[in-house]
């Protein structure tokens, strides 16, 4: 299934690995920050209403 990348295999694979790791990290950190911000707001609003 893996295409034959010839003598440039390291070049191509390292580009894909670095880029995918950066994109996944960006998405993961964004989701984590979103959850944290939402939870903190709910906590403060809960304290205010309750």
């Amino acid at each position: 299934m893996m295409p034959d990348l010839g003598k440039y295999a390291d070049t191509v694979l390292s580009s894909y690995i670095v880029s995918i790791v950066l994109l996944v990290a960006l998405v993961a950190l964004s989701i984590r920050a979103a959850r944290k911000a939402r939870a903190e707001l709910q906590k403060v609003e809960g304290r205010r209403n309750g």
Binding site: K7, T11, Y16, S30, A33, A37, V44
Partner: protein, 243 residues
């Protein structure tokens, strides 16, 4: 249909983005996976570049986004300066980390590709240099937001920085045309059939570009919501402290 300014209302923005966000996220994932799998597994090698041509599916969309994210930040910053809508300032703030990651991907994949093709990781070529300066502007922009406590002052100063940085965002795009020198070739995608990449490469490339744009939209929606929530929490805590 309502005015676009309705979405400057944080509550309206949160409600609308709640509906749109899951769909854009799914579409972004499907499009990106399709484009990258097609590009990596099912395209032939180029007769000159060999298999390194597959890097185009990451490098070109990331470079395009690096410039266009700054353009989006410029528009939202101008909206903030003129109309003082907080959501637009927060959207610019939310977009910056996405833009810097795109710039880093473009710089790294460019360097990795450049080593075997140009014989060097880096050259002080007009496009490469203006891209490095764009990266530094992204860093400065993010640092400035973090450095200032008052959110309105931070939004004002970062908006001015964004306007100044737009010169370099434009240079990153047109440097090749302005200075007819340097290692970097012209645009990979062109309306001129002679200059455009071959169809066998361009179709998955267009899909990857669409995927990167959709990913950006999804992330900006998500991150702007986060900024709105953080701002609301800060305001409520300040009210609590006042009693």
């Amino acid at each position: 249909m309502g005015s676009i300014w309705e979405y400057a209302n944080p509550v309206k923005f949160i409600r609308t983005s709640e509906i749109i966000l899951p769909w854009v996220s799914i579409l972004a994932t499907v499009t990106l996976v399709l484009g990258l799998v097609w590009g990596f597994f099912f395209t032939p090698d180029d007769y000159r570049q060999g298999s390194t041509v597959k890097i185009i599916y990451l490098h070109v969309p990331a470079a395009m986004m690096a410039i266009n994210v700054w353009a989006m930040m410029l528009i939202t910053s101008l909206v903030w300066l003129v109309r003082r809508h907080h959501v637009s300032a927060l959207a610019a703030k939310a977009a910056a980390p996405v833009g810097i990651v795109m710039t880093v991907i473009a710089l790294i994949t460019g360097a990795i590709w450049g080593q075997p093709m140009w014989g060097t990781w880096w050259a002080w070529d007009p496009r490469l240099t203006s891209f490095l300066i764009l990266f530094l502007f992204y860093l400065g922009y993010i640092a400035l937001w973090e450095a200032i406590d008052n959110p309105d002052t931070a939004a004002d100063l970062t908006s001015v920085l964004c306007i100044v940085g737009s010169v370099f965002a434009m240079l990153s795009r047109y440097a090749v045309n302005f200075w007819n020198q340097g290692l970097h070739q012209g645009a990979s995608l062109s309306l001129d059939k002679e200059e455009n990449v071959a169809d066998v490469f361009s179709t998955p490339l267009y899909i990857c570009i669409a995927g990167f744009i959709l990913l950006f939209i999804a992330l900006v929606f998500l991150r702007t919501r986060t900024e709105i929530h953080k701002r609301r929490t800060k305001a409520l805590l300040a009210r609590e402290r006042l009693g």
